[in-house]
Symmetry: C2
């Protein structure tokens, strides 16, 4: 978290949730030569574990800055991730999941644009991917494209001819592909955190949708997930 | 702030800053038959006065709910409204002002969509207007139109055929027109607050860009602004 980029170095703002996907997206940004400015949003998650993972990832990837922004969305209600609705453990479905947070990526990307504009950065990385966008509308490529145009119109930078590039390097990757990228980039999967419902002992539950998807991805890729799970299905 | 709307009543979420424009936009929404759900964003303003005005307006207009959301943008830097840069008092200019907050309306409208989706509302009111959009890119009609399409793509409601309607009833009004609407709707101008730089005694300074615009508007309309100003130019 030390040092500042020189004049030729391009800064990218990475929306770092602390999950596997955002970690891999951040490492891809670094591989492409960007200096990382991580942005994590504390949106009233039921578990601080995800934000601790984001701090760990930012440190391991040598981010020059890590902004943590508090945004209490619990007052809006409407999602198992921020309120008291039970997280489902009945397996994966094709519908929009109850863990959907209203307009989450619209809000988070907007904040990322504000952060990038204030930092003088034009490049934004976000770890949305194909597996997500069947369930979450704000992970689909058509949303990202429309958002980029709206962000251009919304900002001084955009109006002055410096639009934002929204990079989605995981857009068409499966969870198994992402697990392979994680290994290729030399990342320890355990730096990241995916579980929606950790045990009292602080282990990933191994049963929520997010744990299942992750375990399935590593299994399909024939790779080991070093995360400590309460159960491994 | 009491009571709940019946089944036939449509709720509109109004982005209520506490300024004159948002007050008039809220009253127009009410006149059109909407029940008001006010949303105010505490974004690290240097003065809480604006939020107190928003509370006052919500009460006077009989809002059924008023959500105050804390969002500390001071960590991003970049604006006289949230950081220690001096507010200019050198008169109005055509350039993007230093009071520009990076991507503010993009962020605020995104939060309003999240609030509306969680509340099951499809209608959103925002008091952007012609005077602003010469200086602030995120007040222009082309931004609003692009944002509405992005919001449709971003949300469960939009995907399921219930897109959001972004109402901008002041879009083409001058400040004098807005002062006239304020009088026509029976609103007391002093419920609202526009000053960027109040005196230690809590009076509007009468010298910042926002005070000047407001005073000029009332003067052009031949109306009295009941606000207590330190000086009146």
């Amino acid at each position: 978290m030390e040092g500042a980029p020189d004049g030729d170095t391009k800064i990218a703002v990475i929306l770092l949730s602390g999950g596997l996907d955002s970690m891999v997206a951040a490492a891809i940004a670094r591989e492409q030569g960007f200096v990382l400015h991580a942005l994590s949003i504390d949106y009233g998650q039921r578990h601080r574990r995800e934000l601790l993972a984001a701090q760990q990832i930012a440190r391991h990837l040598g981010a020059v800055r890590h902004t943590e922004l508090a945004l209490d969305l619990t007052g809006f209600g409407g999602s198992a991730l921020t309120s008291a609705i039970d997280v489902p453990k009945t397996g994966l479905t094709a519908d929009i999941p109850v863990t959907y947070v209203p307009a989450r990526n619209l809000v988070f990307l907007s904040l990322t644009v504000a952060c990038a504009e204030a930092a003088g950065a034009q490049d934004i990385f976000i770890g949305v991917n194909a597996l997500d966008y069947s369930g979450y509308p704000d992970c689909r490529p058509e949303f990202i494209a429309s958002f980029a145009e709206t962000a251009r119109l919304a900002t001084k930078a955009g109006v002055e001819g410096r639009p934002f590039h929204i990079h989605t390097p995981l857009q068409y990757l499966s969870k198994a592909d992402i697990a392979r990228e994680c290994a290729r980039l030399g990342l320890d999967p355990a730096w990241s955190w995916s579980c929606y419902d950790p045990t009292d002992e602080g282990l990933a539950c191994g049963r929520c949708d997010s744990c299942r998807l992750r375990q399935k991805g590593f299994a399909e890729a024939g790779l080991v997930d070093s995360t400590a799970y309460a159960i491994h299905e």
